[in-house]
């Protein structure tokens, strides 16, 4: 969707330091609050997410970065007692609007989870699942094509091309996570959300996923939550630092890591806590 959306003004009184806005954002979030029952998990967050770049969200555990990520494709809907307020616009359209269909939203905003969660189906069926339910393939040949392309782009094709009919759970952890990425891109989304995608993987598998993220950036906007500052520095162009539900600072990754403006960010990056 290429209609350019105007930059939305940031409301008065935001405490976030740094460049909240970007030109032609995919997502613009303004004054987003999330509550779990009585708990105020996310407090008035303002941030834009740019196209064809990786935004890393870092912060100590429990700071709300995963919660915020799950707002972007309304995965919080599935949690009982969760309530999201404020405005989140995808391509200029509020995702909480009545007209906005959550199924359609999630087809546009894919997600990869912390723990690889392949379905109890074959490798082929795992990747074909999204295109099947959304009716993206007219016939079997087209479906084969989508599976093939998705697995190639996820860098998994060479490893699995001879055993597409084996269960997805038979793969190694790193392969499973790439299968989940292939499953997400098979729907041809605009944004991919990644919730600590490497935390359950060994260093070699992590390196492969990071390479993959770097490659996928050329087609998608990617938003990644990570607890590893090194990973954020390696894969992202922009970095956002969350602390206890507040978005403290956001900006270009280089700047955040070399010259953080906020004291909290600096303390975290230099390893004083977290």
């Amino acid at each position: 969707m290429n209609q350019s959306s105007k930059i939305r003004p940031v409301p008065e009184g935001t405490k976030t330091i740094g460049d909240v806005t970007v030109p032609e954002p995919v997502f613009s979030c303004r004054d987003v609050d999330v509550y779990y029952g009585d708990k105020h998990a996310i407090k008035k967050v303002n941030i834009d997410i740019g196209r064809k770049q990786v935004l890393a969200m870092i912060g100590p555990s429990g700071c709300g970065k995963s919660t915020f990520l799950r707002c972007l494709n309304r995965m919080n809907d599935t949690i009982v007692g969760a309530r999201v307020e404020g405005m989140i616009e995808l391509d200029g359209q509020d995702i909480h609007e009545k007209r906005q269909d959550v199924v359609q939203l999630r087809a546009r905003v894919g997600m990869v989870f912390q723990k690889p969660n392949p379905f109890p189906k074959s490798i082929y069926e795992n990747v074909a699942y999204g295109p099947r339910i959304h009716g993206l393939a007219a016939d079997r040949a087209e479906l084969d094509e989508i599976v093939n392309v998705s697995l190639r782009r996820a860098g998994l094709w060479e490893e699995v091309k001879d055993r597409l009919n084996q269960p997805g759970t038979s793969l190694s952890g790193g392969q499973q996570q790439r299968l989940c990425i292939a499953r997400a891109i098979a729907v041809n989304p605009e944004v991919i959300l990644m919730d600590e995608p490497c935390s359950a993987l060994d260093p070699i598998a992590t390196a492969r996923i990071e390479d993959l993220i770097d490659e996928l950036r050329e087609s998608y906007a990617i938003c990644i939550v990570t607890h590893s500052m090194q990973q954020a520095a390696r894969v992202s162009q922009r970095t956002a630092y969350f602390h206890l539900g507040d978005l403290i600072e956001v900006g270009e990754t280089n700047k955040i890591f070399t010259n953080p403006q906020a004291k909290l960010t600096e303390d975290y990056i230099t390893g004083r806590f977290g």
Binding site: T78, V103, R106, G110, K115, N117, F119, P120, H134, A184
Partner: protein, 462 residues
């Protein structure tokens, strides 16, 4: 001395033994102030003494009470005149029955044959002797045990360890009861079933299609042998179980899905126990419901449609049995569905799957082995269910697949063959055990498979 008085005596003796052991332990170290020199607390010495006093006495007592009747009966039979001893087993059984009635005072001695009267007198005499002997033996065992431990009490006797060892053995014995129960079931059923198969060939039983177990009273009567082809019973059982599963599986599974995935927590909280009420209703109530409500309703409906519905149709029994099994299927399915990790649901939702797509293609697919295991357990339950079919299905052994006709089942026949006074050795009663053996084996097989499948399934997501 009556058994219950003896039981009280054993308990009293044990209490005495406890006191004796405790005071002895204190005395051995030289008084209350020095009990630190004992290995264990004085109470432990008391417990050890009590347990060695009471336990052997109790075991002898129980064994004696259980075996007394059998032994005395045997002795009495050995005393009978040779003519009576030579009687065929069935008539000997009748004689023993008379004897028991005389002994119990149900029948006055004048009403039975003289040799029975003499035997009954012997029985009573032997029983009195046995009870006296038991009392003497039990009390002396108790006293010997008590004195033996008391003599052994020394400061370095590890009373607590010994006592706990005994308790541990007792606890083990408790859990071994389960094994003995299974063993008892297998032995009693298999033994009687084999006696049956020595009269009626296995092949006739398993493949025969004619079931009419009525035995003639005189040997020269027509059809005196009876027919024991059990195929109609197997077919009837399967037909009714099949109807039950057609009712129970969709309703049970769909209500589990709805309650687990769709219903608000509040609705689930109240509706789930309400459905489980169906599982707590005694089966005899379902049987009554089938006979008085469902059966007649089906007949009326059948008449309206011009279909002949038998008074005791397989359909009525099957429908009601299905209702009974609904909560069974739904709670097992619910367990399986909620065991599917949330991450799988998240994976599907994140791809933009709707709720029903997620449930049908991901959750149910993942839970399938578990649900199949649950359904197998439900089938085994339907096959073994007795009261509903006894009350609502018929006795006529029709070999039919028409649910509107009357069929009979394995459990119905077991009940029919065994209820009432029969001699224990006729093929008719033995046939019930052969049917019981089939029932036990089939349900056991289903259970073993189902439990295996369910366990594997649970391990997968633990």
């Amino acid at each position: 001395m009556s058994p219950s008085i003896l039981l009280v005596l054993i308990i009293a003796l044990s209490v005495l033994a406890f006191q004796l052991g405790k005071t002895r332990a204190i005395a051995v170290v030289g008084g209350q102030r020095r009990i630190r020199d004992l290995h264990s607390l004085p109470g432990h010495y008391g417990l050890l003494t009590a347990i060695w006093c009471g336990l052997p006495a109790l075991l002898v007592f129980l064994a004696w009470v259980l075996l007394q009747d059998a032994v005395i009966t045997r002795l009495v039979i050995a005393q009978l005149p040779a003519a009576s001893q030579a009687l065929p087993e069935a008539q000997l059984g009748l004689l023993l029955n008379d004897l028991r009635n005389v002994v119990a005072g149900n029948v006055s001695p004048e009403m039975v044959a003289p040799e029975t009267r003499i035997a009954a007198a012997q029985y009573v005499q032997l029983r009195d002797i046995a009870e006296l002997a038991l009392a003497a033996i039990v009390v002396s065992i108790g006293i010997v045990g008590m004195l033996w431990v008391r003599a052994k009490i020394r400061p370095d006797l590890r009373a607590r360890n010994s006592y706990e060892r005994v308790i541990e053995v007792l606890l083990f014995a408790c859990s071994a009861v389960a094994v003995f129960t299974t063993l008892g079931i297998v032995l009693s059923i298999v033994f009687e079933a084999f006696r049956f198969f020595s009269i009626v060939p296995v092949t006739e039983f398993v493949f025969g299609t004619n079931w009419s177990p009525q035995m003639a009273i005189r040997a020269d009567q027509v059809g005196s042998s009876g027919a024991f082809g059990a195929v109609p019973l197997f077919a009837g059982t399967l037909l009714i179980s099949f109807i039950a599963m057609i009712v129970a599986v969709p309703i049970g599974l769909f209500s589990a899905i709805y309650l687990a995935e769709y219903a608000p927590i509040k609705v689930r909280k109240y509706v789930k126990p309400l459905l489980e009420v169906l599982a707590g209703v005694p089966t005899v109530v379902y049987g009554f419901f089938a006979v008085t409500t469902v059966g007649p309703a089906l007949r009326v409906a059948g008449e309206a449609m011009g279909l002949p519905v038998a008074g005791e149709s397989a359909l009525a029994a099957g429908l009601v049995m299905g209702i009974m099994i609904i909560p069974f299927v739904s709670s097992l399915s619910d367990d399986m569905i909620t065991a599917v990790p949330q991450s799988l649901r998240d994976g599907a939702y994140a791809l933009g799957a709707t709720r029903s797509e997620t449930i049908r293609q991901v959750v149910l697919r993942a839970a399938l082995p578990g649900i199949v295991g649950g359904v197998l357990l439900a089938i085994s339950r339907a096959i073994g269910e007795t009261m509903i079919v006894v009350m609502a299905a018929g006795l006529s052994a029709n070999l039919t697949a028409n649910p509107l006709e009357a069929v009979t089942t394995v459990t119905v026949q077991i009940v029919t063959l065994l209820v009432g006074d029969q001699e224990f050795d006729s093929p008719k009663t033995l046939a019930a055990f052969a049917l019981g053996l089939v029932l036990f084996l089939v349900t056991l097989l289903l259970n073993v498979i189902a439990l295996y499948v369910v366990r594997k399934y649970r391990e997968q997501y633990e």
